[in-house]
């Protein structure tokens, strides 16, 4: 087990007060707080070793490049990537997913990329529980190419309808992109099943691991998908950086996305050739200071141990589900048992709008999120305008869950 009290001391913001009461931060699925080591890593790079990377032949350039490329090694280890050059830095996971969607549509006019072409008659499959960042890019790809956009529906418990997996993913499917752990429902999806079905029909498989990366060990070799992405700010790292991992053979043939400095091999006015991955997909000045800060976050998590993180959060989640069940009129949206679910719990309360709940909890120092959590189709599916969502992290204590329950009861009293 991990020592939460020790961990909490590493996060400066957790000593803050809000409205005169100590902060209870239950919005880590939205974005996680940062340990001091992450803040320091970025500051130290700027104060001591800063310069642009790759292009420079001077000492500072070599130090900054070293820090940046070391971060790539750290990420590769974190997800057990077979090669470091399979790790691409983006600005967030949204960019990573759009990168894939645009590279695929670029294939239509990019010599040698025929195998990636998507067009009329083909289809692209997501799930009904996707975050907008893994939904809109594919709708836009369908719009650009004439392919069909499809989704695998979810059942009343917030799980994928298993029978629909084989039905929706068919011989004409080119891409299957799905969330590992849902940010709106907490559901953990059957990754192996989805990847296997994608492979069976020859489709590319893409895992949105934004909500998985902070909570459970990731092993891209074991998962078996073609691509996996996550975002820095949710793994206790900085904003402004995300990660796309892909199989090298695929990255090596995929057309470029953003054009610019450092993604080229040679440029002339008559035409341009492109660098090998990962640089081909990293146009312009990258997140130089954010990369070592992300590495610091990953090192921090790795020192705790992702298995310990999972265990801690499973305990908190089970406790929270039990306690929430005691609140009158409260309905969990998503799996209401700890099985195959993560530390993110959405709910509604009879007669009180989620925005009111969240606001009144905030007045008691408790930060939760209310809304459709960038997954509006989920709300549509359950016929509700929004949910309230409490989400936990490595620093969450049972006492904070108790504060949430007490807060909810107080809200009910006010609206009573």
């Amino acid at each position: 087990m991990i020592d939460v009290e020790v961990i909490r001391k590493d996060f400066p913001i957790l000593t803050r007060e809000v409205h005169g009461v100590p902060l209870v931060y239950l919005d880590s699925a939205n974005s996680a707080q940062k340990p001091q080591v992450v803040i320091d890593a970025e500051a130290e790079l700027y104060a001591q070793h800063y310069s642009n990377v790759a292009r420079a032949v001077h000492t500072l350039g070599s130090e900054a490049t070293h820090a940046y490329e070391n971060a790539r090694d750290t990420v590769a280890r974190f997800i057990n990537a077979p090669r470091r050059d399979e790790v691409i830095f983006t600005k967030n996971i949204s960019e990573a997913l759009n990168l894939l969607a645009y590279s695929l549509s670029n294939a239509a006019t990019f010599p040698g990329a025929e195998k990636f072409v998507v067009g009329p008659g083909d289809n692209i499959v997501v799930t009904e529980m996707e975050h907008h960042s893994n939904l809109v890019p594919w709708q836009l790809l369908a719009q650009r190419t004439g392919a069909e956009f499809r989704f695998i529906p979810i059942d009343d418990e917030g799980r994928l309808v298993d029978a629909a997996i084989d039905e929706r993913i068919d011989e004409n499917t080119k891409v299957v992109s799905f969330v590992y752990q849902s940010n709106a429902l907490g559901t953990i999806n059957p990754v192996a099943r989805l990847v296997a079905r994608a492979r069976q029909v020859g489709a590319l498989s893409i895992i949105d691991a934004a909500q998985a990366a902070p909570h459970l060990p990731l092993d891209v070799q074991a998962l078996g998908a073609d691509f996996l992405a996550f975002t820095g700010h949710k793994v206790y790292g900085p904003t402004g950086i995300g990660v796309l991992w892909g199989r090298y053979e695929l990255l090596a043939e995929l057309p470029p996305f953003l054009g610019g400095g450092e993604m080229i091999e040679t440029v002339s006015m008559q035409g341009t050739t492109y660098a090998a991955p990962p640089h081909r997909f990293e146009a312009g000045t990258p997140p130089i200071a954010q990369a070592p800060a992300l590495a610091a976050a990953i090192d921090y998590l790795s020192a705790i141990g992702m298995e310990n993180v999972r265990e801690h959060e499973a305990t908190i989640t089970a406790y929270a589900l039990d306690r929430l069940a005691t609140v009158p009129g409260l309905r969990i949206i998503g799996p209401n048992t700890p099985l195959d679910r993560g530390a993110t719990i959405s709910f509604t309360m009879q007669g009180i709008h989620p925005h009111d709940i969240a606001q009144l909890l905030d007045e008691q120092g408790i930060a939760v999120r209310a809304g459709h959590h960038c997954a509006r189709p989920v709300c549509v599916r359950y016929g509700i305008p929004a949910t309230t969502r409490a989400s936990f992290g490595i620093y969450t204590t049972p006492a904070e869950v108790d504060a949430l329950i007490a807060g909810l009861l107080k809200v009910q009293e006010m609206f009573g």
Binding site: H19, G20, V21, H355, D356, Q364, P385, F415
Partner: protein
């Protein structure tokens, strides 16, 4: 309840939420509008009746949080019976209040004119909720514009 809790959820707001005014469908009306706040799903359908340059009557139905519902109720109280000009001036002041991010610079007179609507000042610190507070007011403005606008010559006859 902490002091700021009170500031945000003043009794005024909760009262209006629990007992909204002018809620209901108007039978005789000059314009109807339907406004939605896509980020949170709040919605309101609002009808107005305009007579002699005044908002003679107004009725609304809607779904949403206490802020949007109470704000629409407060707004209705303020504008029903008021000259259109005054209603729109109030609307502008309310928008200003909501965009003040907690530091309003309204004069005392202006504050007085807004009556119960001043209870929403605390909302202005929460960008995500400003739209809730504005929903009914924006709907009123659109409905009045439609009722009197050049696009609606029918209204001309009535005035």
């Amino acid at each position: 309840m902490t002091a700021s809790m009170e500031s945000m959820y003043q009794q005024i707001i909760l009262d209006h939420y629990k007992h909204p005014n002018h809620r209901g469908e108007l039978e005789d009306f000059d314009a109807e509008v339907h406004h939605v706040n896509p980020t949170c799903g709040d919605e309101v359908t609002l009808r107005v009746q305009v007579r002699d340059g005044e908002i003679a009557d107004l009725g609304w139905v809607g779904e949403g949080c206490s802020i949007s519902q109470a704000s629409t109720s407060v707004m209705s109280d303020l504008v029903v019976g008021a000259p259109i000009e005054n209603a729109l001036a109030l609307q502008e002041k309310f928008v200003e209040l909501m965009q003040s991010q907690g530091n309003n610079t309204l004069s005392e007179d202006e504050v007085e004119a807004l009556e119960d609507a001043v209870a929403f000042e605390g909302v202005s610190k929460y960008p995500a909720r400003v739209k809730c507070a504005l929903l009914g007011w924006m709907a009123m403005k659109s409905a009045v514009a439609e009722a009197v606008g050049p696009a609606s010559p029918a209204t001309e006859e009535k005035s």
